[in-house]
Amino acid sequence: MSLWLALGHVACPCRASWPDPSCYRAVMLGLGVEPVREVSMSAGIVGGRGGALLGALVHLDHPAHTIHWGWLLISVANLVVVALMLVIFILALVLPFPGRRRP
């Protein structure tokens, strides 16, 4: 595995599409190395049956979409998480707590 990782790190020519598993898979196959399993960039599974199931819901097999506005550069995934945090923060302030006694 370490040889596979080392070769991939040196040989992958398409840094622009680095998160794309097909990128380094193609390089590995070109070097005659058969990857035994795809492992996602964030430690999850993108291959296999579980990946196929998740892939049916959200297509993740592509480079990250980003939003660039002036100095601000953020991936859509991170922006969604930040927006979700803001929504939950506001809901936590306004939603009544169960069992709270009102005067």
Partner: protein, 229 residues
Amino acid sequence: MSAKPGRPMWTWRVRDAAVRAFPPERLLPDRQPVYVASWIYVFGVLTIAAFIVVLVSGAWLGVEGPAWWHTSKVGLFVNSLHLWSTELFFFFMVIHLWGKFWMAAWRGKRQLTWITGAVAFVASIGAAFTGYLSQQNFASQWIASEGKDGLNSAGVGAVFNVLNFGQMFMWHILLLPLVLGVLVVLHVLLVRKHGVVPPFAAKAPVAFGSGEADPDAGGDGPVGEAGPR
């Protein structure tokens, strides 16, 4: 090691000092101020719950090793559990931070509670960063090669070498969890000692477990109503 006549042993003195600093009735209160009945007060304990999952899943990964977490189904599951509990840990912690910031949670002699929380947040970022470096996959190599330039440009130098896997792994599984664990315990003890910060509109109505006013509280409005939780 016997005590001198008339002077208690050091173990008794340590216990006495600990009980005086953290009275048991404050550590496990059965009553809380009424303003605690709000969802915004839930995110601290959610952060701790996620942290426990992070520690347990991380210990499991540490026992089994990289070959296991990259190739076996259970290993991949525990690896993902470690990642997503970390994501939730930060998610809850940041909302907790926002809530406490806008409440000015350092009021009422709670400066140390705020500081331990803030330092724990910074230590968590370091723990997460070294965790990404310890994945043993393409991402960790990519993050290390990019991160070294950023850290070098900030003048960090070779004392913290992100290309040194052994060093980063030890930071991730030993040093930073130890620091973070101590800070979290201290943070919780301080919260128990001083109580949760009241909203601006309320004075703390009760000292924990006593039903009496808490002179350390930082509120400045009308007194709220105590209620069981």
